[in-house]
Symmetry: C2
Subunit: 387 residues, 2 copies
Amino acid sequence: MSLTASSTPQGFSTFITNLGIRDTTEDFVFLRSDVPCVADGVFTQSLFAGPSVTISRQNLQDGQAQGIIIISKNANVANGAVGIADAQEIIQLVAQETGIAAENLAIASTGVIGRRYPIEKIRAGLVGMGQKLTAADFDLAARGIMTTDTVSKIAARQVGNAKLVGIAKGVGMIEPNMATMLAFFFTDAAISANTLRQIFRSTIDKTFNCLSIDTDTSTSDSAVILANGLAGEVPEAEFASALQEIAHDLVLKIARDGEGATKVIEVTVDSAANYAQAKRVAKAIVNSPLVKTAVYGADPNWGRVAMAIGKCEDERDINPDQVVIRFDEVQVYPNTFQAENLEKLKEIMSKEKVNIHVSLNIGTDVATVWGCDLTEGYVEINGKYST
Amino acid sequence: MSLTASSTPQGFSTFITNLGIRDTTEDFVFLRSDVPCVADGVFTQSLFAGPSVTISRQNLQDGQAQGIIIISKNANVANGAVGIADAQEIIQLVAQETGIAAENLAIASTGVIGRRYPIEKIRAGLVGMGQKLTAADFDLAARGIMTTDTVSKIAARQVGNAKLVGIAKGVGMIEPNMATMLAFFFTDAAISANTLRQIFRSTIDKTFNCLSIDTDTSTSDSAVILANGLAGEVPEAEFASALQEIAHDLVLKIARDGEGATKVIEVTVDSAANYAQAKRVAKAIVNSPLVKTAVYGADPNWGRVAMAIGKCEDERDINPDQVVIRFDEVQVYPNTFQAENLEKLKEIMSKEKVNIHVSLNIGTDVATVWGCDLTEGYVEINGKYST
């Protein structure tokens, strides 16, 4: 999709360019709000998180920000003290150029790890950037943060008089493939820091944190939201549901663009003892290489789903005799096999989005997670790269 | 390898045949000791464990057994009450035919799940089996328990006057692929139940429980040991180290025969705070799809190893600045890159066994785990099968 002027939140501007981080495509995206924003961010839990993550986590702690720097093609991870100094210098340069206080800037990076930024090129490229900001081009921003994504990912909604737009990247290969997931949301709605934080975290938890491409966790995953308030207040519930829709939309776009993926897998686990249990079981299924290859092969192989549930060995209250497994609406376990179902099942497994539904019949909680199939393409993309 | 008479423990006999479980290859293996044995078994923790696992777990609780039944090509899992009745009937039939008490028999199954045994064929095939037992043929037993393994797995050692032999199967595809791992050990050494239990569990924990092919856990994994005592006592430490060697040997054979595998990956994590931490980090590395594909592509991609360590987000005492990563003896992180190392690294990554070595520099504990690379072959084997 392309954003029209009418779907663009007011009061944002962008500076998007190539600084020669790695090649000649856009690799530097700066998004500024005309006025200070209420803001929040959630980040990777990786022990090897880089300076971009640690600085942004720190700067967003007060729930305020006015701009975001996004560098693609180099993650600035595992570079020791020099990596920290580089990140701080870039923040300072942008602060000087734009007049925004350094502590009101967030920064995100994605790309190769263990290699230093070409800092001289960055210094040169940022000179005068404050004068080069133009009316926000979110479409170009969505393209500028891509690494080896095959399509850019953007979604937008109207909420009352306010607009809400989200851009994301992932999961494309970069050397070494960190499968980094970045997501940024911008709105002109007015909302309190506490409310934003609560809505944002709950949304990310039920969307981006429910997405698994290959179980590997990036050192750089980041999601940030800025709300500049220029469009005034909006109904809280409406804002929450618009954010949820956008995040859900972006998550499906990422799953569809998963490395080598041909299909999206959606797993719903219901009637669980609690949400955490539902999510653990759903993730065990969506991450199982045997389930992922079965979906690739369009094989209604419920035995592999049962096996994946069985792996959740700490969930001792799950009783196999009470579990029900369905592909779409067709029950496959307990096995009430009917010949006419086999054709139906083949059809279900051949769809672009395969739905696996498990009822644990213990309690009332539900979780839905997303992933993609495992194909020769994944192996080829990740196995044929040479450092 | 083939076992010679001189490496075969005394007092065991076998009955190995085809009962038509699925095709015309051997699918029924019975191993009997002439005298009651000290015995132990460890089993899958899967919530979907079948009757073979639950019955054997029960029968081995007293540390005694005299025979093992192994059925391949059908796992008898997820078959409800009829599956339990079938397993009990087979135990009873073998007990009647051989004169061994039912509670002194263990049973293991591997193969398709959710499909009932062809129980009529089994009943017919077991008639008179007590008369058909012959001097133990462990080589044939190793072949008889295979599903789609491409080679049979057997290893043997002499301990004092006693012999110790182990056979194993895994990891080959079966519909649906349960990647079931079965391992059985037989010795004529005399050993107390407590000592055997202690040595056996510690050995399995450091060998079979350190092997991951694809993170999926079988509903039928079983390892059982029988010691009939006919060769008299042996030095305990010598017995333990022989068992460790055999188990290690079998684990490498299984990793090498992993679905689609072209290389074995051995990951050692040392100087950890404790063994559990070392093993968690090592498993995160050996199970990472990005590490597995990098090994496949012979790419010395240490960034992916760092990423996998970073995933162990609960291990807050791991400090990235203290971590050292090596491929064989060549340090790759912290990155002290030397041009002459790149050729050396390519060579290391091209070996049939790739060693990844991580020092956490926190404490003194060490763990080693094994796995295999992820290839198009894995996807093909598991994706192109149709239920």
